[in-house]
């Protein structure tokens, strides 16, 4: 009994270690950035030359979500801050939060004040803030300090009039300033969104973040999931864990599984999330990862939500959906609750089903279908009509409905027959 508890404690520790590793972007992307022609080194080179040679620069980091753009950037920045502690200050903006110009300048002013221990006033106007920013740029330039602006979700800043971008890039043109603007975006064509005057001030440097090759991915998985030998866990447990892991990774079925997952989501971020799920399913009493963990994680990611919704419906709701399908087949352009009810009544009259219920119960089922988003209103503006009269449309195809009916437990045979007509 005591041994089992000890084993559980050990596996819990190992689990904790793996989970914190998988949630830490720094740990994940450092090994991928080791080679000299990786994006890490290129980025580091560009920024450090701007810092040492006191010149202005701008660069875009592009790549799909989860490819590690911000993670690599943070690695570079932390290394540079260690190298040149007094010569860099970093301002971080995010397009989701600060796409409005007033908001963005306020945030820039706040962060500048925090770094340089100045008092920040919340009621400063847009002009005050922009003058403050220009003044700070000049001062920092004279003191040979580079300000690095990180603009996350760059495509949001390129919406609207792009006033912030223009003022930033314009301020960089003056002789005294030393600034680097780094834009991070998932849209690969984000520089096409820039206005002419902004684009002319932007140096067209782009770094593309692509997903690593297959061998790199395999090496990466092994590196991430192996327990380190010098941790606080006992040596024999770690050795056995790593040994089993190696055997699992070389298994053909495992490789197939990873390929299937990566064919849908091919970035490192998605892979890490998948590994996190698999690791969380680790059986604590056994203490080792097994193929079953990965299989469960894969199946929970490969859900078909609409089919699940259909399986959760009651028989009456299935009737309503089949009626709507028949109305569509009859080429009726739009239908509402009452037309569905007439179809339902005609089915009942011709086939004498036992499932004939009153209008209010059917309306309740209809609203349940609306809530699950299996059907929806055609337009959102019809708020001056009651629910029964607004036209609706089906949000699933007939193939999906057919599949759902087949997999439904105790589906009435009449429904399948009606669908086949």
């Amino acid at each position: 009994m005591g041994r089992e508890k000890e084993k559980e404690k050990l596996s819990e520790k190992a689990l904790n270690l793996l989970r914190s590793r998988l949630s830490d972007p720094n740990f994940i992307f450092r090994p991928l950035s080791d080679s000299p022609d990786s994006n890490y080194s290129k980025l580091k080179f560009i920024i450090s030359t701007s810092v040492t040679e006191a010149c202005n620069n701008s660069i875009l980091l592009l790549g799909p979500r989860g490819s590690g753009k911000v993670a690599v950037l943070e690695l570079v920045l932390s290394d540079l801050l260690q190298q040149y502690p007094e010569a860099i200050s970093v301002i971080r903006l995010n397009g989701l939060l600060h796409s409005d110009d007033n908001c963005a300048l306020k945030e820039i002013a706040r962060q500048l004040c925090m770094e340089h221990q100045l008092l920040f006033s919340k009621v400063a106007s847009f002009d005050d803030n922009s003058q403050f920013m220009i003044a700070m740029l000049r001062e920092c330039g004279l003191a040979h300090k580079t300000i690095i602006f990180v603009l996350d979700e760059f495509d949001f800043f390129a919406q609207g009039k792009q006033r912030l971008l223009y003022s930033l890039l314009d301020a960089m043109q003056s002789v005294n300033s030393q600034a680097v603007v780094i834009g991070v975006s998932c849209r690969l064509d984000v520089d096409q969104l820039l206005e002419k005057r902004v684009r002319s001030r932007f140096s067209h440097r782009k770094l593309l973040f692509l997903s690593p090759s297959k061998e790199d991915t395999e090496r990466f998985i092994e590196h991430i999931l192996s327990l380190p030998m010098d941790s606080s866990l006992p040596h024999n447990y770690t050795a056995e864990f790593n040994g089993r892991l190696k055997k699992l990774l070389s298994d053909e079925r495992f490789k197939e599984l990873i390929d299937t997952y990566l064919s849908f989501n091919f970035t490192i971020g998605h892979l890490v999330r998948f590994l996190f799920q698999a690791v969380s399913y680790m059986d604590l009493s056994a203490g080792f990862l097994s193929l079953g963990n990965f299989k469960t994680a894969l199946s929970s990611n490969q859900r078909q939500p609409k089919l699940e919704c259909i399986r959760d419906c009651s028989v009456l709701e299935l009737y309503m959906m089949v009626c709507m399908k028949r109305l569509e087949v009859k080429e009726q352009a739009s239908y509402n609750f009452y037309s569905v009810m007439t179809e339902y009544k005609s089915i009942h009259d011709s086939f004498q089903t036992s499932d004939y219920y009153a209008a209010n119960v059917c309306l309740r089922a209809f609203e349940h279908l609306l809530q699950c988003q299996l059907i929806s209103f055609i337009d959102n503006k019809g708020h001056n009509q009651s629910v029964e009269f607004r036209p609706v449309k089906l949000l699933i195809s007939s193939a999906e409905l057919h599949q759902g009916l087949k997999s439904y437990q105790q589906c009435p045979a009449i429904l399948l027959k009606l669908m086949d007509r």
Binding site: R19, D24, L97, Q277, S300, Y357
Partner: protein, 533 residues
């Protein structure tokens, strides 16, 4: 002299304001409760795993999966999206899991927090241990409207709470002191699907899903609970999806377990469920709708039994089944209703009548009456609105001529094929379009015609309900007030304005059944006035 009620005040104040002011100052404000860090955890008896699993029948795999994804103490996590149909137990399972784990969490529901500002401020209030009370006139601790402000305040507040928790974790075991465990804080967002209907949903939803990346704090865990599946949230902006956790609807066996819990006479209830569960599951499988139907039906089921504690044998079961069978069919066609008049009348009716058929008659009588109260003029207004929506405007002159005699007899023509087809198409069109709109003047004209009719018939019965002595002007103002209250009760919908005239048009929203019921209560021959094609 009533100096109490109207004191000398330098600024203008109404009498009621000054009266209430003095009243507040005289009473002592009660001591308000100041929340502390212990409130972030569930302040109830901690729950063991076996109790947790047994209190949620049919949810064993979901609970275990949730526990596995949350992980051991102080282990960072990826955001989780818990989704499933309504009343499948998502919120209760999540909250009870947190009670079992005794970890600090912040809960906010997007039904009570119906705008971004309220959502942000509610979370900040909970993190900063601020409770809204009359001392600060029910204001939040910080005014926060935009996501950028929210992120800054949230970071500060979380850092405070986390340092607090870290300090606590070094001390005595928290089981004794009721303190929550660990150094992580979890944010639970409930009813996420409501955000889709907000104005700012296109910025708030991606913001919430990306909150994990924006905050970059591994000690914060995010859990989203939603009634709709993840594919209803796909937006123009991508995000790394949260880990989905699906709560399927209950199967029939699970439903049986759920309803059998906490029953005093389990064998009687089991035989009841054998009879009703299967037919009702064909209509709906949601627990709340079934529970409402079963509670009233079970009372009827156990009526013939003199001793409610007895366990039924086969013969008794058969007797009870034949007793309940006619009621099941009618109960299947009912949805949950809140009756405004007490059921005493119906019960006395049933006690006096012994035969089956008259009991059914009693039920039908109930259906014929409307069970809410309306004034007479409101009822007439409702009927006029229904007529105005149903009939085309050109018929008004012939239906409501000055003598008040309705003449809707049409010359009978032989129905030809073409006219039958046209009739069908016209009916379909009518179904699709719904009730028509009408301007205010037409409504009032019809109302006047109808009420003048009613006056003549009422004079014969010597009733004094309608007062027209005040002249038409008095009736008019009352009618406009009634119209606005009918609009508020959604009997009449205010539609868009006519593009030519600019006046607003109205539309009726009641079904024909309700209009017939109202007309029957007034003894008004509605069917004579309805236009049938």
């Amino acid at each position: 002299m009533a100096t109490e009620e109207s004191p000398q005040v330098t600024r203008r104040a109404t009498r009621s304001y000054s009266a209430s002011n003095t009243a507040i100052e005289s009473t002592n404000l009660p001591e308000s409760y100041k929340p502390t860090i212990n409130d972030l955890g569930f302040r109830q008896q901690p729950l063991r795993l076996e109790d947790l699993l047994s209190s949620f029948p049919g949810r064993r795999s979901q609970i275990l999966e949730l526990l596995r994804l949350l992980g051991p103490l102080n282990s960072p996590m990826f955001p989780i999206l818990v989704y499933g149909g309504p009343s499948t137990g998502k919120t209760s399972v999540t909250l009870q899991v947190f009670r079992h784990l005794n970890r600090p969490f912040i809960y906010s529901s997007c039904i009570t927090c119906y705008s971004p500002r309220i959502l942000f401020e509610s979370i900040l209030n909970q993190l900063l241990f601020h409770r809204k009370d009359s001392g600060h006139s029910y204001s939040s601790v910080k005014r926060c409207e935009r996501p950028s402000d929210f992120v800054n305040y949230l970071r500060e507040a979380l850092e405070n709470v986390l340092t607090n928790l870290k300090g606590n974790s070094g001390k005595v075991s928290s089981k004794m002191s009721g303190r929550p465990d660990g150094t992580m804080v979890y944010l639970v967002f409930d009813n996420l699907e409501r955000i889709r209907d907000w104005d700012k949903s296109s910025t708030i939803l991606p913001f919430l899903f990306n909150l994990n990346d924006i905050l970059k704090m591994p000690e914060v865990g995010l859990i989203f609970i939603s009634n709709t599946s993840p594919d209803t949230y796909y937006l123009n902006i991508g995000y790394v999806e949260p880990i989905p956790l699906y709560f399927p609807d209950y199967t029939e066996d699970d439903l049986r377990h759920i309803f059998m819990a906490n029953q005093t006479n389990s064998r009687l209830y089991a035989s009841f469920l054998d009879v009703v569960l299967r037919p009702f599951c064909r209509v709906t499988r949601q627990v709340d709708e079934l529970a409402a139907a079963f509670s009233s039906l079970f009372k009827k089921y156990s009526e013939p039994l003199s001793d409610k504690e007895v366990a039924p044998n086969e013969e008794m079961k058969r007797r009870l089944f034949s007793h309940i069978r006619p009621h099941i069919a009618s109960a299947l066609n009912e949805t949950f209703q809140v009756r405004s008049q007490p059921l005493l009348k119906a019960e006395t009716n049933e006690e006096t009548k012994k035969t089956n058929s008259s009991r059914m008659l009693g039920i039908r009588e109930d259906f014929d009456k409307i069970d809410f109260h309306m004034s007479t003029s409101a009822k007439y207004l409702l009927i006029s609105a229904f007529l105005a929506s149903r009939n085309p405007a050109t018929l008004d002159a012939s239906l409501f001529d000055s003598t008040g005699v309705s003449d809707s007899r049409k010359r009978k023509r032989k129905a030809s094929e073409k006219s039958m087809d046209q009739k069908e198409m016209a009916e379909q069109e009518l179904l699709m379009k719904g009730p028509g709109t009408f301007p205010l003047e037409r409504l009032l004209a019809i109302f006047q015609c109808i009420t003048s009719l009613a006056e003549d018939s009422l004079d014969e019965e010597e009733s004094h309900e309608l007062t027209v002595e005040g002249g038409s002007r008095g009736l008019m103002s009352d009618v406009l007030l009634q119209l606005s209250s009918l609009c508020n009760a959604n009997f009449i919908i205010k539609g868009g304005s006519c593009p030519l005239e600019g006046s607003t048009r109205y539309r009726t929203a009641v079904s024909e059944d309700l209009a017939l019921k109202v007309a029957r209560s007034l003894k008004f021959p509605l069917s004579k006035y309805l236009y049938r094609r």
